[in-house]
């Protein structure tokens, strides 16, 4: 048998653990642990103010201490919420998971959601995604508003922090403004990982500017590859290094038998080898059933083919993804050198 091919970069694998709503922590903890046993990079949990279910970020905060390595990516709504609170909560998820947090910004377009808040009417997706981009922007600034090492505990001068390493963000958006600095010190990853479903045009425009991971949907590897190229080109046009953008194909899956699991591995492997994407985000129809087969059937086959790693090489989600810790946009602003 020929030795398994060693790809230059390991394939990234993530799974959604949503499915029908559950109201007990146990359910989600079990799923995240299962995904962790399969050394998946991260799990996602969708959310919206309009569908039954618990607050996704709260669920994954509850899951964090019950897991060790798996990345945790809740959907976080940027419409009707406060950008300052959103950035604090995501940063805190990174603190309680010791660097395993991501977030997936989403918007609320319906009148029904607007009525839950009664604060302003529903707006077109384009406007709300413009706002979501501003939220992503201000979140990044707030995460950077404390430089690393701002806490000095300097006994001789009695100073707990070095205020020169704290920064006002003074952000003026179309619908909100934030003065800053953050209340939460800079999170372990610098910036938690931003995941955006780039299927529709409006979120795609946000993804090319702000996402570390863009999710795409495609019928075949060629279509996926084309989308990936488009996203990378547009990221480059925004002055970003496309090597810092991971594109994952988001696939619905339904696994009933071991044969289904092996079939999925073949499909993933083939798409990957044709350069469709850097990895896959799997959306199981029934997470409890499908994840078990995925972890015990699909994952070992991919590992055997040398496409998927067998252990976590690092501790943070950025390390799983091969992404460097985020640079701080203010770090040199205040220093005279």
């Amino acid at each position: 048998m020929p030795p398994p091919r060693t790809p230059t970069r390991p394939l990234h694998l993530a799974a959604d653990i949503g499915g029908s709503p559950h109201y007990e922590a146990r359910h989600y903890t079990a799923l995240a642990r299962l995904a962790e046993r399969g050394t998946l990079d991260f799990v996602t949990l969708g959310d919206s103010f309009a569908r039954p279910g618990l607050d996704a970020l709260a669920v994954l905060a509850r899951v964090a201490p019950a897991t060790e390595r798996i990345g945790l990516v809740p959907t976080v709504t940027t419409t009707h919420t406060e950008p300052f609170h959103v950035s604090s909560a995501v940063a805190t998820l990174d603190w309680v998971s010791r660097g395993r947090a991501g977030w997936s910004p989403e918007v609320s377009t319906t009148e029904a959601e607007a009525a839950l808040f009664g604060r302003r009417p529903a707006a077109p997706a384009a406007d709300l995604w413009h706002e979501a981009r501003e939220v992503a922007d201000v979140a990044g600034r707030l995460w950077d508003s404390w430089e690393d090492g701002a806490e000095i505990r300097d006994e001789p001068t009695g100073r707990f922090i070095d205020r020169d390493k704290l920064h006002y963000v003074d952000f003026e958006g179309r619908t909100f403004s934030v003065r800053g600095p953050a209340i939460v010190p800079r999170p372990p990853q610098g910036h938690p990982v931003t995941v955006i479903d780039a299927t529709a045009p409006e979120p795609r425009a946000a993804a090319v500017r702000h996402a570390d991971i863009a999710l795409v949907r495609a019928e075949d590897p060629a279509a996926a590859r084309e989308l990936r190229e488009e996203l990378r080109d547009r990221a480059r046009a925004h002055g970003r290094d496309p090597e810092r953008l991971r594109v994952l194909v988001s696939l619905p899956v339904q696994l009933h038998t071991t044969a289904d699991a092996v079939g999925l591995a073949t499909l993933i492997g083939d798409w990957y080898e044709q350069g469709a994407a850097e990895g896959f985000h799997l959306r199981p129809a029934e997470p409890e059933r499908d994840l078990a087969l995925l972890v015990d059937g699909t994952v070992p086959v991919l590992q055997h083919r040398g496409l998927l790693r067998r252990f976590y090489p690092g501790a943070t989600l950025r390390e799983h993804l091969g992404l460097a810790r985020a640079a701080n946009q203010y770090a040199h602003a205040g220093s005279p050198s």
């Binding site: 509850r62 406060e82 805190t92 010791r98 001068t157 205020r163 010190p185």
Partner: protein, 430 residues
């Protein structure tokens, strides 16, 4: 049965209580610190773990205040994670009613209540200033007079949402029309294990007390001394009847500190040392400037108080609840300083502390029991001066004595915070 005491652990967030320079003081942010304090509190069979909130870094003379502990993670998220490493401990988050919306917050608290198996509590605070508002969409427009009407309507609305699912587990449409909120739709979370998360109120004005009497399950207060505590206790409890509530429906819990020693003298000495470290020379001048509203950096902290008067219009301090009329405070400080011959720093040390229980474990246990027996409190929110180990000694040395005296539980009697507090599950309305 002897009146039972309730105990809570305050994790000092942004504060000037923590002696951060102490070699035993560890991170205020790392999750491991939260785990340590929460597990210690649970080992001691405490009712709940408490986190305060601040939404903008304080400023002094136009610059970020840098002498005290600064920076804290977001409370609800930390408590969600702590639910994974504790089993019985109540989990209380301070969250402002001014800079949030009822639907979102009701959902977050209901989520925490589900994820913790019925241990969530919400300390409703009402800061309103434009300074904090600069971090938020609404800005700082809320009038001082409106903040409690908004808070009261906020809590009432949240309760409507918490009540909106049928016992069979299906959402029922809700519609709330009020002065501050007009919202409608369906709530996404079924009724949570406690029915309603426990509601705490912190705030001291007449409106604050009325709000507590009509709405809260617990009052968090600063009235720590026996006399002030009894007065506050009697006043707040007497307000309950007109809302159809019994005195035991609202627990009064002052925030207090404690210092333990092997002898009373040793404890007193330790306490004095802690106060000196909490109120450094720099901190003493800052505290003085916060009352006087003037730059007093030229004054000697070991010298006498300034003779000039406070500036009542001063904007010197931002992001802190005002301590009252600066002239009155200054007069009180001067009188104390003259009577006892105290320097600036000594005066600040004497006047700015909370109620502190100081002594041997036996003496502290006796003092706490006396406060509760004399109806100066129903229990205490303990504020340790070290993070995260500051509760270790209390749990190891004082709790067993309270248990021996029969004033504090030896085991949790139920899984929910309401069960620790002896509060019934609220009746579903509507």
């Amino acid at each position: 049965m002897t009146k039972q005491m309730h105990l809570a652990a305050h994790f000092p967030g942004v504060n000037n209580t923590t002696v951060w320079a102490d070699p035993r003081s560890r991170s205020q942010i790392d999750f491991s610190s939260f785990v340590h304090l929460a597990r210690t509190a649970e080992r001691g069979r405490f009712d709940f773990f408490f986190l305060a909130e601040g939404l903008r870094l304080r400023e002094h003379k136009g610059r970020i205040h840098d002498l005290d502990v600064v920076g804290r993670p977001e409370s609800l998220t930390v408590l969600g994670a702590l639910a994974a490493v504790t089993e019985h401990l109540g989990l209380a988050a301070t969250v402002n009613a001014t800079f949030n919306e009822p639907y979102e917050l009701a959902r977050r608290f209901a989520s925490l209540d589900h994820l913790s198996g019925g241990r969530a509590a919400w300390n409703v605070v009402t800061s309103f200033d434009a300074f904090t508002g600069e971090n938020f969409r609404r800005g700082g427009y809320l009038d001082r007079a409106d903040r409690y009407t908004r808070a009261a309507e906020f809590v009432a609305t949240a309760r409507e949402l918490w009540d909106s699912w049928t016992p069979e587990g299906t959402p029922r449409p809700f519609a709330h029309q009020g002065q501050h909120f007009s919202i409608s739709g369906e709530f996404t979370v079924p009724r949570s294990p406690q029915g309603h998360p426990v509601v705490i109120q912190a705030g001291d004005s007449g409106e604050g007390r009325e709000f507590a009497a009509s709405t809260a399950d617990i009052v968090f207060t600063r009235h720590g001394t026996l006399e002030a505590g009894r007065e506050f206790y009697a006043d707040v409890k007497s307000r309950l009847a007109k809302y159809g509530r019994r005195p035991e429906d609202l627990k009064i819990m002052p925030g207090v500190t404690f210092v333990l020693g092997d002898t009373d003298a040793e404890a007193q000495e330790k306490a004095a040392d802690i106060r000196r470290r909490q109120v450094s020379a720099q901190n003493a001048i800052v505290a003085l400037e916060q009352i006087w509203g003037r730059d007093l950096s030229a004054y000697d902290p070991d010298g006498p108080l300034p003779e000039i008067d406070p500036d009542p219009e001063s904007e010197l301090v931002k992001g802190r609840v005002k301590v009252g009329d600066p002239f009155a405070v200054a007069a009180k400080w001067r009188a104390l300083s003259e009577a006892k011959g105290l320097s600036i720093r000594q005066t600040v040390i004497e006047t700015t502390g909370r109620q502190s229980f100081i002594g041997t474990p036996a003496s502290v246990a006796a003092q706490l029991t006396e406060f509760v027996t004399a109806d100066a409190a129903d229990g205490f929110i303990l504020v340790p001066h070290l993070t995260p180990g500051g509760l270790d000694d209390f749990v190891d040395r004082v709790v067993p004595l309270l248990q021996e005296r029969g004033v504090f539980r030896t085991e949790y009697s139920g899984p929910t915070l309401r069960s620790h507090l002896g509060l019934p599950t609220p009746v579903r309305k509507g």
